[in-house]
Point group: C2
Chain length 337, copies 2
């Protein structure tokens, strides 16, 4: 497959992205190619010392870059020659089979929606992240693609994420939950209450009801559904708190016993890695008619390499076909418009 | 002052609540009394072995209890003799100066709103928690009192929480931020965008703009404002993640070096305590015309004792007078209806 990678996206672009692409060589099959999209001379500079990269990497020049803080839709309109816009256009023209970006998330989501369009039957695409917990991985969707959510959007996030969980986490019957402020029916806001009914009326979903934020860390569910605003706040909160706790733990250990603390730096590093977004590589934008993997803006080379791995897994397990089939079955049963 | 404590509220009631009240003796002044509200015989049983408790504790019998999972408004209507309903009624009649409950949060909020009413000028009360971070305490409001939020509610949460921060955290000019999904003006949902304008138009607020979940752990602000659904999800997520990380850290340390791991149990315990809600005791429902302190449902005796401490501090620093004055000043400037 031909995997487009936005060479200009993220805090460590282009150097980190190019290195991540080079490091992905071992993951690729004979027919797989990486297409780096961005400023050609900058990319060439970082490729210079890598012998034989021509076997699996080629460059598509894009002269503009959408900044992390630009307004997505406006930036796409003003910069048709940006790496994100160009990448999406190439994918829409059938010249790329997948796209990856650690750049402006909103712009990437908007470009993918506009160019790739949605899978048949999908109302809104959603970004699905895998959250590590000691009880196993939990998929959370959506974490920021859509902040104007209707109940049917959330319901479809549940169906799509369940397919993702089956394919990527190997869970045969994923337990789907709604993120809320109490497990009782009466709790939550209007959006949660209406979505709950949609899940309850679908016997094919293993719906386990509402969960609170804490429950998802204790093995209560395999998929947790939420609207993009809440999901994004939750994602960033988890990152910040984990980082803060690791910092506090290390400082406290150092204060109590400086000699021994250093021995435990390794232990903390091990756990930290489990919670490191670079380890997970990237999160798919579920529901677009193609493969779009969104990386963390602070992705380093390892994050990009792993995102290429995620892309290959995503393609190999035919998740999009499964989603289309699942939504089609639902449509035929006449319960979803 | 006369502090009403719901003896039947929370996972460890009545034993834990009664013990928490007994342990609070040292915090009380000569004129301070604790009034335990709940099943008299059950309370007496737990008081039996405590000599001299009559000096500072008395009992008000309430024969009913509102369960943690009951629908708040309905439960209050059906159980006028419940500890929460009775406590709020006594406060409204001027027989209690403050109320504390670790019971059904929704019922406690509803009872306080209905009986104590709101402070002059306040649109909606909000629950304000203190979140510990290595950069200092951050106040988050609202964490669950109000899930149908309008911009002016959020704006007032900012004003009220700033007063709380001044009084309790000793911060002269608290930096107020809005919890969102990106720091740029263009990001966030409609509620955030409209609230942002209200803050920007008030020169008396030290408004530092939008923050993401991670920023609040890195010293970006002293007060973070959010609507009740998001705030409650965030609160529970923080609890669950912290617990999960401590568990993972301990398991990893044990795996790497079982002998040394035990030495670090103490260090982990120390950090854990900093993040333990029992340490903070309780969160005020800011904006009610009285003092209402909401405790975590899993509060143990120590949590209740500390909540009594919070109550005394809240009264001593005259936070409600400051809130009323602040909102009055705002009203006079003609910018708030």
């Amino acid at each position: 497959m031909r995997i487009g990678v936005d060479a200009m996206g993220g805090d460590f672009a282009p150097a980190g992205v190019v290195k991540g692409a080079l490091d992905a060589e071992g993951l690729l099959g004979d027919d797989d190619k990486i297409v780096l999209i961005g400023d050609e001379s900058a990319i060439r500079e970082h490729l210079a010392e890598a012998d034989g990269h021509e076997r699996f990497i080629r460059i598509e020049h894009a002269g503009e870059v959408i900044g992390m803080d630009e307004s997505p839709v406006e930036a796409l309109r003003q910069k048709p020659g940006s790496s994100i816009a160009k990448m999406a256009t190439l994918a829409a023209a059938g010249e790329l089979d997948a796209i990856i970006s650690a750049g402006n998330t909103g712009a990437c989501v908007a470009a993918a929606q506009m160019r790739l369009r949605r899978l048949r039957g999908v109302h809104r695409p959603g970004i699905a992240i895998i959250t590590p917990t000691y009880a196993g991985p939990v998929i959370m969707c959506d974490v920021g693609a859509n902040v104007n959510c209707r109940p049917e959007h959330l319901y479809q996030y549940g169906l799509m994420s369940a397919e993702y969980s089956r394919c990527i986490c190997g869970i045969a019957e994923p337990r789907v939950a709604l993120l809320s402020i109490g497990s009782e029916d009466a709790k939550g806001n209007q959006l949660v209450k209406e979505t709950r009914e949609l899940f309850k009326n679908d016997p094919e979903v293993k719906f386990v009801g509402n969960v609170e934020g804490s429950d998802m860390f204790h093995g209560a569910c395999d998929v947790v559904v939420t609207e993009g605003f809440v999901g994004n706040v939750a994602l960033k909160l988890m990152e910040g708190l984990a980082e803060g706790l690791f910092k506090s733990t290390y400082l406290e250990l150092t204060r109590l016993n400086p000699d021994l603390a250093s021995q435990f730096e390794h232990a903390i590093t091990t756990i930290r890695e489990k919670y490191d977004f670079n380890e997970y590589g990237g999160a798919p934008l579920l529901g677009v008619n193609g493969i779009c993997i969104i990386c963390h803006g602070a992705s380093q080379a390892r994050g990009i390499t792993n995102a290429i791995g995620v892309t290959l897994d995503f393609a190999e397990t035919h998740i999009n076909d499964r989603i289309t089939e699942r939504l089609g079955r639902r449509r035929q049963s006449g319960d979803d418009s």
